[in-house]
């Protein structure tokens, strides 16, 4: 607190301190006075103020000599003060300087010489130079509170203020009323008393504004500095989660791997199965880099999967190809940095490639695609997601060159249109005697408009025979007609002409137009063999249709009925246990392994479960956890 006073902090205070401040009494003032008195008395400190003051007055008989003798005694006291603790040396300097400052009149030299110690002359020289700044420096030092010195200050202040303050109160009395004239205790000039008038340091009297300011205790000085210090203190209360985040163990391990990447032996033996798991673990953190990826490269690799190639740049892709020349199957997810030059290397240096799966190769341009396709006529799997540059020309090349194509995915293509479908139908579809061999077709999420029923029906009529897997999600314009006409239609034609293996997997999610009729059609057609059905988004499917799945879908392994609003617990029960038909349980999806019911509000936590069945998406499960 005393430190605060030294900085003229004006915080909320008691009445006493308010008064003291008004009278211009500070701890340093008091301490000095007390020390002076102690020095004079050389005895117990419990003297009354009046006595000490009187003695002081006696010591200095006239007003003229009052100051110097006071200065002398003070200096003596200060020297004794320094005896309290050796760390007080600086204090000594400043204390002396301050006193000297008070008497910057002519008396300095004459009076101080005989009284001073040897170090004093040096101090005097310093004094005259840095007159103004000293006291401020002194205050600053007290603010910093250098260890013992600070505590010494406090001790002196703490011991004395309560006694000395009361003395000063009695002695100095109250300030003369504002407006009166007073003689300055220092320079003897007349000045008007204001509320800012400060008491003179050594004893009674008042300082004019000039002298008060010169002594360093500017009454107008605003306590700005301490506030600044408080604010950052408050800010530090906030816990900075981001700065302090501990790296996860996975991160640490990846760093260690990167360190030792060149010394493959040291990393221990990793089996083939683990490589995938490691790749997945690294991809989760997006920490696969050109360095780490070397872990997976091997000239004997025939299959390579990188789940997150975001950090691989174009040259990195080139080195990928050079180091894995014998690849037959390549899958790169998030290969956004794959561009034409790198893709050229794909074209030239992967002779054995039969299956390529890319997610996000949007930089590869049409000519590059064409070159690639030409170079790989044996391609059996061409699965590309997200490319706005793959156009009709490229498709033409594809279907004309790669006649052995079994898997085709053109997902999220900007240029998808009916023409595409026509091309596919024309070239890959069976006509006449030849069979189509396309087994997997995924044309979901077209960039532009959805394909129309007619084109799709046409397509299906050509390739439907061999099709095992069809994904036409997000083609909004598809309606019942498609299913009735397409799926049923092609079966109709197929039946007549060749084998009709029913669809094994059907993903028609998020086609909100498709409804119950369509579902029934599906089930009627291929229900008995259907293993995986996704009707996510078919919001209007009715209960009967859903139950039908249970009745007919004996082989059903995976079901996604998300957002089918009519889905509820009873239907699930019917699926799992079969329905009661004349007292006997019949039907049901006994093979069901995975059931997804995201967005089905009526499926509650009470819905029946079966061991071995993974049930995803029950709302109450999720809410309970958080």
């Amino acid at each position: 607190m005393s430190r605060a006073r030294n900085n003229n902090v004006r915080g909320p205070t008691s009445a006493l301190t308010e008064f003291l401040r008004a009278s211009g009494i500070t701890p340093t003032t008091v301490a000095r006075r007390a020390a002076t008195q102690q020095g004079q008395q050389q005895a117990a400190a419990g003297l009354s103020n009046d006595d000490s003051q009187q003695q002081q007055d006696e010591a200095g008989s006239s007003s003229g000599s009052r100051r110097p003798s006071r200065a002398a005694s003070r200096r003596g006291a200060n020297r004794r003060e320094s005896g309290y603790g050796s760390d007080n040396l600086d204090e000594d300097d400043e204390g002396n300087r301050e006193e000297d400052q008070d008497e910057n009149g002519a008396d300095e030299e004459a009076v101080e010489e005989p009284e001073r110690n040897s170090p004093a002359p040096a101090k005097k020289r310093k004094l005259t130079k840095a007159a103004e700044a000293k006291l401020k420096a002194q205050e600053k030092k007290k603010a910093k509170g250098k260890g013992k010195k600070g505590s010494d200050d406090e001790y002196q202040d703490d011991d004395d203020p309560y006694t000395s303050l009361s003395k000063s109160m009695w002695s100095s009395g109250s300030k003369p009323p504002v407006g009166d004239f007073e003689n300055c205790a220092k320079c003897e000039k007349q000045f008007t008393v204001t509320k800012y008038t400060m008491a003179a340091n050594p004893g009674p009297g008042w300082l004019c504004h000039v002298c008060a300011k010169a002594s360093g205790k500017d009454p107008f000085k605003k306590p700005a500095a301490p506030r600044k210090r408080k604010a950052p203190g408050d800010k530090r209360e906030v816990v900075h989660f981001v700065e302090n985040r501990l790296p996860t163990l996975v991160n640490l391990c990846i760093k260690v791997v990167t360190q030792h990447i060149d010394d493959v032996e040291s990393l221990g033996d990793i089996g083939t199965l683990n490589v995938e798991a490691i790749a997945k673990a690294m991809a989760k953190n997006r920490s696969l880099t050109a360095e780490n990826a070397k872990l997976f490269y091997n000239t004997t690799n025939s299959k390579l999967v990188l789940y997150d190639a975001t950090n691989l740049s174009s040259p990195a892709f080139e080195s990928l190809v050079y180091l894995n020349p014998n690849l037959t199957s390549l899958r790169l997810d998030f290969c956004g940095q794959l561009d034409d030059p790198a893709f050229k290397v794909f074209t030239t240096s992967l002779p054995a490639l039969e299956r390529i799966e890319l997610l996000g190769p949007f930089l590869v341009r049409s000519p590059a695609w064409k070159a690639f396709i030409k170079a790989h006529p044996n391609l059996e799997g061409f699965l590309i997601t997200q490319s706005p540059r793959f156009d009709l020309d490229c498709l033409r090349e594809l279907v004309s060159h790669c006649t052995g194509l079994k898997e085709l995915r053109l997902k999220e293509f900007g240029k998808m249109s009916d023409d595409f479908l026509d091309e596919i139908a024309d070239n890959l579809g069976g006509q006449g005697d030849s069979e189509s061999i396309l087994e997997y077709l995924d044309i979901s999420s077209p960039g532009g408009e959805s394909c129309s029923d007619a084109a799709l029906v046409n397509l299906l009529s050509r390739i439907g025979g061999s099709l095992r897997c069809l994904d036409v999600s997000k083609h909004d314009l598809l309606t019942n007609a498609f299913l009735l006409g397409g799926l049923q239609q092609h079966t109709h034609s197929l039946e007549s002409e060749w084998e009709n293996p029913p669809l094994v997997s059907l993903d028609a999610s998020r086609n909100p137009e498709l409804q119950t009729d369509a579902l029934e059609a599906i089930m009627k057609h291929s229900g008995t063999r259907l293993e995986s059905l996704n009707i996510n988004g078919w919001k209007d499917v009715e209960e009967n249709g859903l139950r039908d799945i249970g009745r007919q879908g004996k082989e059903m392994r995976k079901l996604d009925v998300g957002f089918c609003r009519n889905m509820d617990d009873f239907i699930v029960k019917a699926w799992l246990e079969g329905e009661d038909v004349k007292g006997r349980k019949k039907g049901g999806c006994m093979e069901l392994v995975e059931l997804k019911v995201w967005g089905c509000n009526r499926v509650t936590a009470n819905c029946p479960k079966k061991p071995g069945l993974a049930l995803h998406g029950v709302e109450s499960h999720i809410i309970r956890r958080t």
Binding site: V239, V256, L267, L273, V593
Partner: protein, 155 residues
Amino acid sequence: MEDDIEMQNTVTTGTSESNNAANGGTDDSQRANDWVRIESSDGFSYIVKRKVAQASGTMNNMLDPHGGYAEARTKICTIDERQANLRAPSYRSRRELTDAISRGIVTEKLVEYMCFKSHYQTVGPKEDIPVQEMQERIPPEIVLEVLLAADYQEM
């Protein structure tokens, strides 16, 4: 930090060998000071404070009494490395045994990291965390196994 763990080499029987199963663990304040056991597949056991085990997301869920897992009752978390490699698509083909050795060592590294993490999670923003030291304590011979286990344990 070293007070948090004791290592024993016990034969796991899979039954609920109690380690201070005195309290049913229902009281939250008691729960915080519980000891739980982490077992590796080759018979090493590590007994740590619950707070330390909660550094792992998976174990936290396993031990959560509201979670309904058996581990919450027995307070034993089994880190079976074979489970961590369970990537087989069909639920029918379970444990694909891997021939890797030294599972106890891997679990020990996991526990070490958990102690490190739970200790340094609570220090103020000004203190340095000796991350590099922890990183150096992972020998490259087992780093890949530790990586997979850590990924499974969500830590």
